[in-house]
């Protein structure tokens, strides 16, 4: 899938984030390639979301470097404000606890995501006030892009409905569509499959694979649902207590002793949760 010589899209080096005495992320280094789906997994409290919050500028890491290559430029994310990371470096994200603009319609959610180009086209509101042709064209283009994404995530019928009234799975899809409307270079998804049923999570897999193929962007994925992680990711990074304990292709991670220990406590645990026991036996067969 990836050309080995291609420089990584994102390089994280020695990232450390402390909250008082707690070391949430401890000397973490990893790289994410463009056109790859890189999954970050780990038990609850391993520091996965903290990594996302550092990447997207919500937290300032104590030490470490986060370099992103986008459109031929190098962005040092640890030095940028959250909104500039999204706007200039093109890092888009979704949230573990969905953060839609619940009182606005679905279409409006996708139009807000295109704030920057629309703001420029409206000449910072002055031109928009008089509805100049340039702004009208930009608005039509924005609606067209929103229409495209609504079609992709199957929400075109409900476009004018209030986003907060959507069912859970649809809200997750809308959040991904909204992130994609910002034209990102790196899409960070925080547990996109949480709360989805089997059919919905299969749909999600298809959507993420299609995004990778068509838009050729990097995807960074935090996920607990192993069926999603193992099926679509190209590279898996495992965190435990803020440290990277393993990294590699999904097949290797599945059988990694340290990973199994982190998830299950001891190697010789008698009572494996059924899906993991199944997973392990399948992995052994291969």
């Amino acid at each position: 899938m990836t050309i080995p010589s291609e420089p990584p899209l994102l390089e994280v080096e020695h990232l450390t984030m402390r909250f008082g005495g707690l070391v949430a992320v401890d000397d973490l280094s990893f790289a994410a390639r463009p056109r790859d789906i890189t999954a970050i997994i780990g038990p609850n409290g391993a520091g996965k979301t903290t990594v996302f919050n550092c990447l997207t500028g919500f937290y300032r890491p104590g030490t470490g470097r986060m370099a992103l290559r986008a459109s031929g430029k190098l962005f040092l994310l640890e030095r940028m404000d959250g909104h500039r990371i999204a706007r200039e470096a093109g890092v888009a994200r979704t949230f573990q606890n969905i953060r839609l603009f619940a009182g606005m319609t679905i279409l409006e959610n996708l139009i807000v995501a295109q704030h920057r180009p629309l703001m420029r086209a409206s000449l910072y509101t002055v031109g928009g006030l008089f509805n100049l042709p340039g702004y009208r064209r930009a608005e039509a283009a924005a609606v067209e892009k929103a229409r495209h994404w609504l079609d992709r995530v199957g929400l075109i019928e409900q476009a004018d409905h209030v986003a907060g009234n959507l069912p859970y799975g649809a809200q997750r899809r809308l959040e991904i569509a909204r992130a994609m409307c910002t034209d990102p270079t790196l899409l960070c998804l925080d547990e996109p499959a949480a709360g989805l049923n089997a059919a919905e999570s299969a749909e999600l897999n298809a959507l993420l694979l299609a995004i990778r193929e068509e838009y050729r962007i990097g995807v960074l994925l935090i996920e607990h649902d192993m069926s999603v992680v193992m099926e679509i990711s190209d590279h898996v990074i495992v965190l435990d207590y803020g440290r990277k304990i393993a990294a590699g292709p999904p097949a290797a991670i599945r059988n990694d002793a340290a990973v199994i220990k982190a998830y299950l406590g001891e190697e010789e645990s008698e009572e494996l949760p059924p899906e993991i026991a199944l997973d392990r036996s399948k992995g052994a067969e291969r």
């Binding site: 959250g82 279409l107 139009i111 409206s122 006030l129 019928e157």
Partner: protein, 433 residues
Amino acid sequence: MAMEALPPRRFDMGAILRDAAIAAAVALALALPLIGVQTIEIDGAIGIRTRFDAVAIGVAAVFLGRLLLKLAWTGIAERLGRIGSRAGAQAAAVVGDHSAISVLLVLLFAVALPFLPFSSPYLVGVATFVLIYVMLGWGLNVVVGFAGLLDLGYVAFYAVGAYSFALLALWFGLSFWQALPLAGLFAAFFGFVLGFPVLRLRGDYLAIVTLGFGEIIHTILQNWVPVTNGPAGILNIPAPTLFGLVFQARARSGATTFHEFFHLPFHPAQRVIFAYYIILVLALLTNLFTLRLRKLPIGRAWEALREDEIACRALGINPTTVKLSAFAIGAMIGGLAGAFFAAKQNFISPESFTFAESAGILAIVVLGGMGNPLGVVPAAILLVSLTELRELAQYRMLFFGAAMVAIMVWRPRGLLAHRAPSLRLWRDRRERA
């Protein structure tokens, strides 16, 4: 509506009887010492006479009265509730379904008001005040309704507009039309300045700081005597002119009066009507301006900020500029209204810019419904007419509180709560079929 769907409440006779018995017991406890025992004078000494018959009558009256009241109240409350929710729903439906027609009718009425048969200079003056509050309501709606930033010190911008207008006119001799935009810009600048320290605050904390800002402005107006003339206020602020024509019986040298120019007899009402039309135009421009802003990226960013600031940041929207722009534009509208107020009254003093004003404007926005700017109009009419009913001056706050409670019970999201989307993908339902 929801209340009609409920099954009719049945009288719970036992509870009502129990309630009446409790009331009677309380009455007995009070009446025994107060009515049952009377001190009388017997040969210069104090004696006691008992009147237990009167106590019995009183207690029985309380028991029966309470019983009847309860019975009546259960029925009345139920009916009132049904009427209230139905009327609210109908009003919303009328405005929702025929909004274009009803807006046009209201607009026609507003334009024709000074020439209607029942009109009087007093009525036009009241209508002028209604429109000032409508304009202030629309300005505050940008900050509170759109951007979701609770501002309890909005009157500060109204005051800045009024005082800067007065000082520009008196010190630099600027006319109404020259000083008006400057006063607006000045207030916008103040909004910008206030915006900076409160950028990190939200909700309650923001409300407290803006409240403090309003009080600071009020205190400055009271005490900075060389500039504001303190509590005595500023007199002789020039009134608006129509292309240089003044609305006075006799013009000062060099000026022409309106009635001479048009060869009309002089009438003081001309001035009142002219002021009414200025504020009507200002308010309508404010409405067009804010409605247009709502459909622009800036307006949608305000609403997105109200919904979720963190998501805004993740989408590359800078919350700082979004908040500052909301504060500045809201302040500018308040400043323009303040400038008009100063010119109309010819006199301003710190008395006009107290916290009660801020609370009143906020009440207009909340009563009107934050989703729909049109709700501000009936809310402003309600508030100003309550203020104008001078016979009821003592009970004004009582009525106001009752109106607030009624709105919160029957239409908790304001008179017109429906939020129209800023743009639609589908024109109507049929297009999809």
